[in-house]
């Protein structure tokens, strides 16, 4: 009876301690797991890869500190992919929290590319290869307004430059010049892009979302409203795998590094759920 009681009343602090151990050890003593790329991520990769030269990728970077561990690796991988393939990129945010994180990502990745560039053509140059539009107020007005004119919505970019003076913006006027929009977000923005920009202007939309909202977004992939989907840290690791395998970019893979910890943490939680249920059923039978 005592064992059964203790099984169904395990102190939550023991669970936290076990979780901490199984997460910390694989991070220190690395045991990388192989990553199998699933069709939703593969579709997103090819949707970006196939953007024609005369069209741009819009990256809606909605990554805030509370979703950073899951979504930041997605953002990094997508930007590296686009820069490596010389796809023109416009980065923008619908909320204010991601602004600093998006700037960090751009600074780090442009430094990576420019540190090995031999010529001006090899380099990633602001205004020519990418523009950081930043943020303006009201998501709905932004999403609808960009369908008419992007420079009318974003009169100045994040750094205060007039957008109509940037060479890239002379070619990218509105959604007609955009091959795909990828919204990486912990909330509803990917659905809003489908609702407003895709319905009205026919914009193709891909998404990267947190695991907690993953189940909610799969229906949009099945209906074809999303051109591809990354879910959680696992989705980010899959995209990192694609970028390394297809483009040969060998760089630190933060999501892939964490997969062992993620797997062991899941196994521990499954074990505790089973133990708790066994305790519950034995107790119920004894009553």
């Amino acid at each position: 009876m005592k064992i059964v009681d203790s099984l169904s009343r395990i102190d939550r602090r023991i669970i936290y301690l076990m979780l901490a151990i199984v997460v910390i050890f694989p991070l220190i003593f690395r045991s990388p797991l192989s990553v199998r790329v699933m069709p939703p991520v593969e579709k997103l990769y090819y949707a970006i890869d196939e953007i024609p030269d005369d069209k741009a990728l819009i990256l809606n970077y909605e990554i805030d500190p509370q979703s950073q561990p899951e979504l930041d690796p997605m953002g990094f991988a997508v930007i590296r992919h686009a820069f490596q393939r010389r796809i023109k990129v416009l980065i923008m945010c619908l909320y204010v929290q991601p602004l600093g994180l998006a700037q960090n990502a751009l600074t780090q990745i442009t430094n990576e590319f420019n540190s090995v560039a031999q010529t001006n053509a090899d380099s990633i140059i602001y205004g020519r290869d990418y523009v950081y539009l930043g943020w303006v107020v009201s998501p709905l007005l932004v999403m609808l307004g960009m369908g008419e004119s992007i420079t009318n919505v974003y009169k100045v970019d994040y750094y205060g430059n007039k957008t109509d003076t940037l060479p890239l913006m002379a070619k990218i006027k509105n959604y007609n010049n955009v091959g795909l929009l990828v919204s990486i977000s912990s909330g509803d923005p990917p659905k809003w892009w489908v609702e407003y920009a895709q319905n009205r202007f026919g914009l193709r939309v891909g998404a990267g979302v947190t695991a907690v909202s993953g189940a909610e977004f799969y229906p949009y992939l099945q209906t074809g409203q999303f051109s591809g989907l990354m879910v959680g840290m696992k989705g980010a690791a899959e995209y990192e795998e694609m970028v390394e395998e297809k483009l040969g970019i060998k760089i630190r893979r933060r999501a892939s590094e964490a997969l062992s910890s993620l797997t062991y943490a899941h196994l521990v939680l499954i074990a505790f759920i089973i133990i708790g249920n066994i305790g519950f059923f034995i107790k119920r039978r004894q009553k």
């Binding site: 659905k191 609702e195 947190t210 993953g214 099945q222 409203q225 696992k234 933060r254 964490a258 943490a265």
Partner: protein, 213 residues
């Protein structure tokens, strides 16, 4: 081990540990970190919205560029504050009504198209939908399961008739689909929360303690 000498990394690490201390039990360190977080967030929000919204979009055009039409949105916006004056608090309905009218008008047709019509189309058994699964010949099986799941789940929420006979069977099947949905959502929630823990531990072990790269 290569401990950081960066003051801000130490601030970040100490705040993280203070928040984690709640896992043991509520304590003053957690409370301090929580209050600092709320204070910093509010302070940052107020200054940000002043510098990036109110000044460039309202006060600068109105007072420096003398675009006097901006008085209209300014006055309408100020009506939100009338709720603090009981005698004229009804005026708050004007800005609420305007913004609700705009957003509802914009979102209802778009929402019906994106969330209802397209989703219904995705449930219909067509060769195009079979291929959407990228599962070869299994595509038709997944589409049929989806179709059954949608119909049975909807029947569970049909409350205008007592659930017996065919309706009872379909509602029971609907419950199974609903439970599978909850299970998938819970599994993903676990994955998300563990990912956040991993993110913080990567920070503590990396930039702060220098144990990992």
């Amino acid at each position: 081990m290569n401990i950081s000498y960066d003051f801000w990394i130490w601030v970040s690490a100490v705040m993280t540990l203070a928040i984690f201390s709640f896992l043991y039990r509520d304590n003053p360190f957690y409370k301090i970190a929580e209050h600092i977080f709320v204070g910093v967030t509010n302070g940052w929000g107020v200054t940000f919205y002043w510098h990036r919204v109110l000044w460039p979009f309202l006060f600068d055009p109105l007072f420096n560029q003398h675009k006097f039409l901006f008085i209209i949105p300014f006055v309408i916006g100020m009506l939100y504050f009338t709720r603090f004056i009981p005698r004229i608090s009804w005026l708050v309905r004007i800005p609420i009504g305007l913004s609700m009218g705009y957003y509802v008008g914009a979102s209802i047709p778009a929402g019906i198209q994106a969330y209802i019509i397209k989703q219904i189309q995705g449930t219909i058994l067509t060769p195009q939908n079979f291929q959407a699964w990228h599962a070869g010949n299994m595509g038709i099986v997944w589409s049929i399961i989806l179709f059954i799941g949608v119909i049975c789940t909807l029947s569970y929420f049909y409350f205008s008739r007592e659930q017996k006979g065919v309706l009872k069977v379909s509602a029971r099947i609907g419950i199974i689909f609903i439970m599978i949905g909850f299970g998938a959502a819970f599994g993903y929630t676990v994955m998300a929360r563990v990912s956040l823990l991993i993110g913080r531990l990567q920070f503590l072990l990396g930039p702060w303690l220098g144990i990992i790269d």
